[in-house]
Amino acid sequence: MPAATQDPLRKVDDVAGFADVPRAEKERLVAEVFADPRFADYLYGCYECGICVAVCPSARFYDFSPRRIAQAAGRRDVDLLYQQMQEDIWECSQCFSCLRCPRGNNPGGVITIMREVAVNNGMSSAREALEGYSRIIYKIMSTGTQVSPDMLQPDAFPDWGPEVQDVSENLALWRRALPPETHHTTSTGWSVAERTLIELYLIWLETGALDMIRQVDEGLHMILEEVMEDRLEEEGIER
């Protein structure tokens, strides 16, 4: 096999924005991707036809290609896959247009798995991609709804037009003006029952989803863990 730097499909090494790691470490990370139970359903080799690139929104605006991902995974190219986990995967829009692949591949799904491995291992690309994103994770994991009316603040969405300001200024009243009984909330999308929230916390704790946060944002992990464990303790639920 040629040295990684001679591989014409690789982006040039000296512009890479990440530190290289020993080959064994790359192999370990890539093995985690291949070991995901979904992987076998998502990749059946690759015709290299490029149909996935033609339909891919991210390929139009970034130096990004689902075909490169599918090919690298198909060839088990450990160096290239590691590079893609550091540089490419966060550019994907997760639209799954690439499911039009004539080979039955799901390049977007392969990317989902690569992202999960990047998060689980606290890779620098994951930490970087999730900077500025922690309030969303906090919202979804702690309240049960991902976006809330009070997120509509003009300083957060200055490019969305003056209506954002109108909404934020009139928020409480405009929420009371909504006929559905569950919609009068401002800090969650709808009113989520207490019992429901506790069940959600148990899911995050039991499935290891909360542990994943520790790898990318320790501070956020601590806050979430405290919120959840306190609440479960109040309910007398032992784990």
Binding site: P57, F61, L130, I137, D159, E163, R175, A177, H183, G189
Partner: protein
């Protein structure tokens, strides 16, 4: 109107109908097999249903009533006229439903944005919600395109992977919940499509001459695509029939454009932390193309992310002198308007960004008077004469 390349291609195609012997495998068989093996329960579609056809010919039952509304965080939070219109239409049609607080978001927006979750957690969230619906006896109706897409993925994984079933079952046991999958995963746009005649029968506003472009949601018809509704009478059966089938039934003129299959540019993480991409894609690949090729009065779509992206991306593009400026809404809001819903009290258009007022005028709606009515109802709330605006206040 010039003929677009898409129209030329479609004009050459014949009506396409799939005969029963040419149907693909049907997931229902695996589902019922697992039920027989005692692995899970299947919540049956209530008796009152409409049968529609899907992409590969497998029939799909769409329940008419007794629905458990699986809400969307992006709709309820940022486009509340979307969910309000769905409820309003059901009430207007006289079909009962349940709007639960025992429901969490599907959490898939976060998952596709940040990957800070895993297969088991995502499946457990989905099945917890399905169990909550089952316990009430109402059948789940999914509001969000991404929830719908993700839940179809979860169903496929649950059917295929016994280890995942074991993992999820253990979690559900801890919660004291049964392991249930619904017989069909139904999106609200399928409901509106299936009931389009009932909806049209209550139409009070004339939509003749209203030019519409449709943006179909990727997670609706690309992700586990076999569930999506295809109808030989809509686009000759070559594209999903939802949204278009309803808009046409309401008398609007649905116009084609060449980037119909493109995504909107939402990107899950991009809409929140990398909006330069979202904005560029939404305006350059969708709105500008629609304007140039079809010049619509309104863009209709059927998913939370698509409404948000296509609507909110136009403001900044307008400042750059781009050929944008067309209102965006869900077909639920459009249908509610057709049935006489209030543009602000029900459709909540003041939460939208692109200018919708010329559209309302074309529909024969005096938006100034309507806004004054809305302000009056808000003033009543401010004076604490009333705690909330109620369904009665909006005629249902």
């Amino acid at each position: 109107m010039t003929t677009t390349p898409v129209e030329l291609v479609l004009a050459k195609k014949e009506r396409f109908d799939r005969t029963p012997d040419r149907r693909s495998e049907d997931f229902h068989e695996e589902l019922f097999e697992l039920e027989r093996a005692g692995e899970l329960l299947v919540q049956r579609v209530p008796d009152d249903f409409v049968t529609v056809s899907t992409k590969y010919g497998v029939p799909k039952k769409i329940p008419r009533a007794h629905l458990w509304h699986h809400k969307s965080c992006g709709q309820c939070g940022h486009i509340p006229g979307y969910s309000t219109s769905i409820f309003w239409i059901m009430r207007k049609l006289g079909h009962d439903y349940h709007d639960p607080s025992d429901q969490t978001s599907c959490t898939a927006w976060n998952y596709y944005a940040s990957a800070t979750s895993n297969q088991a957690a995502q499946a457990a969230v989905a099945l917890r919600n399905f169990a909550a619906a089952y316990e009430t006896g109402y059948f789940p109706l999914i509001h969000c395109g991404t929830s719908y897409g993700h839940y179809k993925e979860v169903r496929a994984e649950i059917l295929r992977h016994p280890e995942l079933r074991t993992q999820v079952r253990k979690v559900l046991e801890k919660l004291g919940k049964p392991m249930v999958l619904p017989e069909e995963i139904v999106h609200y746009s399928e409901y509106l499509y299936a009931l389009r005649d009932e909806i049209a029968a209550q139409q009070v506003r004339d939509f003749t001459g209203i030019g519409v472009t449709v943006h179909p949601a990727c997670h609706y018809y690309k992700l586990v695509e076999g569930d999506a509704i295809f109808d030989p009478d809509v686009y000759q059966g070559q594209r999903t029939a939802v949204v278009t089938g309803l808009a046409t039934r309401l008398g609007a003129e649905v116009r084609n454009y060449s980037t119909w299959f493109d995504c909107c540019g939402f990107g899950f993480r991009h809409i929140l932390v990398q909006r330069d991409f979202t904005r560029s894609f939404a305006t350059m690949r969708k709105i500008e193309v629609m304007k140039e090729e079809a010049n619509p009065d309104v863009v209709l779509t059927h998913d939370t992310g698509c409404v948000t992206t296509l609507d909110k991306s136009q403001f900044a593009a307008q400042a750059h002198g781009k050929n944008v400026g067309v209102p965006v809404m869900s077909e639920a809001q459009f249908a509610a308007l057709a049935m006489g819903a209030h543009p602000y009290k029900v459709c909540q258009l003041h939460w939208h960004s692109a200018n919708y007022r010329p559209l309302l005028e074309k529909m024969g709606i005096d938006w100034r008077a309507a806004w004054a009515e809305f302000e009056e109802s808000v003033a009543k709330l401010a004076r604490n004469e009333q705690e909330f605006v109620t369904w009665e206040d909006v005629g249902v």
